[in-house]
């Protein structure tokens, strides 16, 4: 009797656990789906309400203050990059000031993996209540262009662009034989595939390299070494010849004499980094600008996005914030949702052309 009972109990325990799992996941999906329909319904309603409100407001000469109750809980910035990189750094700095503006804590959640697509997807699937935002950059466009994912910025509600980084640079170690960009290009055209250059496959820097190869008709050995911190380690360790990165991330190493910049990919010389020549000045027609944007899930109500975007604008114009961001050589620049959308569309067209 006892012998039969024991496995039976265990079997029951396992069945019970399975039931919990299935139950949980069902509950989750069902609650999510009902949540979604409710929200879309809500969104539609609020859309209508907003329209009518707008007309009323128009009549009342635009005197209505946004009465939306937001944010009601801490806001999570999903950063699809590791802690310690420039994306993380910019998100944390911005978050610190947004916290004061919005009156709720801003929590940074680093969700790495798959060139940022894991984090981006997490935001797309998140509850559309304005408490989960994506903080990401150019790679969002690239992941779509390169076919990693089938979604892009059009599938989100953009809250705007907050920061521009014009310091996209090629770094070499201090004992490198390349003094400037032309040195490197000459060497590379004489020795195809000899110059090793770091990237994260499918990332922003990957595109810069493709653009350079195309523009100068050279062949580089493009090697994946990982994220921003890994790139620094690879260059300091002498594993790689050139590391494309953001100048703001490596100022310490320039000051200490460990690294040297070959130039930046900006359109014109940048005030924050006056001593660094641009690629254009060195005869290479390639200019890139890294932008950091914030986006919400598509169903997020407009007034929430608006409330957030307004707060964002205030922060970006806050001198204290600007001064702090300038320390990492990035320029806080506010673009509202529509401007951001247009900017990203334009950029996307350029990138698509380059990667073909």
């Amino acid at each position: 009797m006892k012998l039969v009972l024991k496995p039976l109990v265990v079997l029951l325990a396992i069945m019970f656990l399975t039931a919990i799992i299935v139950g949980c996941s069902n509950e989750e999906s069902s609650s999510e789906s009902t949540g979604n329909t409710e929200e879309t319904a809500e969104a539609e309603q609020t859309d209508e309400a907003e329209e009518s409100a707008e007309t009323v407001a128009d009549e009342m000469n635009d005197s209505s203050e946004d009465a939306v109750d937001y944010p009601t809980e801490p806001i999570t910035f999903v950063v699809p990059a590791g802690a310690g990189g420039d994306t993380d750094l910019n998100a944390r700095t911005l978050g610190k000031y947004l916290e004061e503006e919005l009156g709720q804590p801003v929590v940074i959640s680093n969700v790495t993996g798959a060139g940022g697509t894991v984090g981006a997807r997490e935001v797309l699937d998140a509850e559309a209540d304005g408490h989960t935002a994506l903080f990401f950059h150019n790679s969002m466009l690239l992941n779509k262009i390169l076919g990693l994912v089938d979604f892009s910025y059009e599938d989100m509600k953009l809250a705007g662009i907050a920061v521009l980084d014009q310091g996209n640079t090629f770094m070499v170690s201090a004992d490198s034989e390349f003094e400037d960009l032309q040195d490197m290009i000459e060497f590379a055209s004489a020795n195809p595939g000899e110059v090793s250059i770091a990237t994260e496959v499918g990332g922003f820097t990957h595109l810069q390299l493709l653009a350079l190869e195309k523009d100068q008709d050279i062949e580089l050995n493009i090697v994946d070494v990982g994220g921003a911190a890994d790139k620094i380690a690879a260059l300091l360790g002498g594993h790689i010849d050139i590391v494309p990165t953001s100048l703001g991330l490596v100022t310490e190493y320039v000051e200490s004499g460990d690294m040297r910049s070959l130039g930046i990919m900006a359109e014109d010389s940048v005030d924050l980094m006056p001593d660094v020549p641009t690629f254009k000045e060195q005869g290479v027609d390639s200019s890139f600008e890294k932008f950091f944007f914030l986006g919400f899930p598509e169903e997020t109500p407009d007034e929430i996005v608006e409330a957030f975007s307004t707060a964002l604008e205030k922060v970006v114009n806050n001198e204290e914030y600007v001064a702090e961001a300038n320390k990492f050589l990035v320029s806080p620049t506010y673009m509202n949702p529509q401007e951001a959308f247009d900017y990203m569309q334009e950029t996307e067209a350029y990138y698509t052309e380059l990667s073909e």
Partner: protein
């Protein structure tokens, strides 16, 4: 250097800062001791709160959390066979059997003292030789990482327990599980069956807690509820004599050095350090058969290695601004937010803060040993709570921890699934530790193999011609050959003894 040391000392020796360190250590111990909650989580939650504090206070509380979080894991590992954090997996191997033999106090004594010593040694290494060590760590590129991780994978054979085949199978299962999700480098989704929830793959924490903790809880539910005789634990000092202590000296030192070395290499981290130190202690021991049955050497190896990994992980962070694992990555964020730029100039520009951090670490380490020593008596009382009340509470905490990793319900489901898997493995006598080792190391092997091949443009030769890589691959080969020979010998002995007994009859 001495000036800076004094400057650091004065900046830490304020009532408030020390209070923050103590607070950090206590919170860290709580997080570390609850299966599912880890040091990483404690730091991630606390980080934003430090923004409003002064540089030194912020760093003080974070260092306290780090030390406490890594050390707290030993409590459930010894008492309940549940590793509180990935860093204390190997502590369960011998700590729990010791507790079962009525030696919980002794196991605690060894674990606490050697956690302290391992931590202290690593802090001194960090203070004295961080820059040169970090430069050496930089020499490790993909070829070297590939070779080291392959070598570490061969450790599975020593964790296998009674059956080598089952151990290897378990290790392969871990590697297989790690392959679910986006592939490294090109992010191609594998084994997701079109289900986007699997795109990110499985997280280490649900896998670990599921296989170890949930599986143990299911197993405990097999037994009928009965009043367990509460065992009286003898507690006297640390539970061991000075002679015992010196017997463990070399073991503790070797394990600490392993911990520091693995901690320094960005990307491998404390989760593997304790297992590798344990295996090394077992292989070097004159009595390897006693491992797993409650030998203090096992506890000493695991606990000195995981705390030593703390100082190790801080070496590349402080000296070069390169984080080695998730915790140091978060600390890096903390440093930057407080206006310090980690990098080659940190020592030069902010020497006072750097030495302040060192001193905070030492104080946290002392606080850790004090809290654990005085807490020992209370922890063992946890065992007097009936299992049918205690285990469900722990299960709930496990689920909370799993969800907390990435705020996804998916992880809770994964946790329970791995719990069932772990239970089945226990039933069929498969060892569980190799799954974790395979799960952690598998992706490292793959990523570095592919990166190495990109460096060499498809040539496999550099993996064998680069000196460091060649040495480790050679060691890996030797380790496999020895294991096979051992296994043959054992089998032959078994056969012979069988023959003898047959002849006897």
């Amino acid at each position: 250097m001495f000036d800076l040391f004094l400057e650091g000392l004065t900046s830490v020796m304020t009532f408030k800062t020390i209070l923050f360190i103590l607070l950090g250590v206590i919170m860290g111990l709580v997080f570390g001791s609850i299966p599912g909650l880890t040091a990483t989580m404690a730091i991630a939650i606390t980080l934003p709160m430090t923004f409003g504090m002064s540089q030194m206070d912020g760093m003080a509380i974070l260092m306290g959390l780090y030390i406490g979080g890594v050390s707290g894991g030993l409590i459930p590992a010894i008492l309940l066979k549940l590793p509180g954090t990935p860093s204390s997996i190997a502590t369960t191997f011998d700590g729990y059997p010791m507790a079962k033999n009525g030696e919980a106090g002794k196991a605690f004594g060894y674990a606490i003292v050697f956690s302290f010593l391992g931590g202290l040694l690593s802090i001194f290494i960090l203070m004295l030789v961080a820059p040169p060590l970090a430069t050496i760590a930089l020499k490790f590129g993909p070829y070297e990482y590939f070779a080291i991780t392959i070598f570490a994978l061969t450790m599975i054979s020593s964790l296998a327990g009674s059956s080598l085949v089952k151990g290897v199978l378990a290790g392969l299962m871990g590697i297989g599980l790690a392959m679910v999700g986006s592939a490294p480098i090109d992010a191609f989704p594998r084994f997701t069956f079109g289900y986007s929830g699997l795109d990110a793959g499985f997280n280490l924490l649900p896998v670990l807690i599921g296989l170890f903790a949930v599986a143990e809880i299911i197993k405990a539910s097999e037994r009928k509820i009965k009043k367990e005789k509460s065992i009286e634990y003898k507690m006297k000092g640390f539970g061991f004599s000075l002679v015992d202590f010196f017997k463990q000296g070399w073991n503790g030192l070797r394990s600490s050095i392993i911990g520091v070395a693995i901690g320094i290499l960005p990307g491998i981290g404390g989760g593997t350090a304790n297992i590798i130190a344990y295996v090394t202690a077992k292989n070097q021991s004159k009595t390897p058969e006693k491992f797993g049955k409650g030998i203090p050497d096992g506890v000493v190896a695991s606990e000195s290695a995981n705390n030593a990994a703390i100082g190790g992980a801080l070496v590349p962070l402080i000296a070069l601004g390169i984080p080695g694992d998730t915790v140091t990555a978060l600390l890096l964020g903390g440093l930057v937010i407080h206006g310090l730029t980690p990098g080659p100039l940190l020592f030069q520009d902010n020497g006072d803060v750097v030495y302040g951090i060192f001193i905070a670490l030492i104080i946290a380490n002392v606080a850790m040993i004090a809290f654990l020593y005085f807490g020992m008596r209370f922890f063992t009382r946890i065992l007097s709570i009936p299992k049918y009340i205690l285990l469900p509470i722990i299960l709930v905490l496990c689920v909370v921890g799993a969800i907390g990793v990435n705020n996804r319900m998916f992880d809770a489901g994964a946790l329970l699934l791995f719990g069932i898997l772990g239970y089945l493995m226990l039933k069929y006598k498969f060892p569980v530790a190799p799954v974790i080792l395979g799960f952690i190391l598998g992706p490292l092997v793959e990523t570095n193999l592919r990166r190495g091949l990109m460096y060499s443009q498809g040539d496999f030769l550099p993996f064998l011609t680069e000196p460091i890589a060649a040495v480790f691959l050679g060691l890996a080969a030797l380790s496999i050959i020895f294991k096979i020979r051992d296994n043959h010998k054992k089998k032959r002995k078994k056969l012979e003894s069988l023959d003898n007994t047959n002849n006897g009859i």
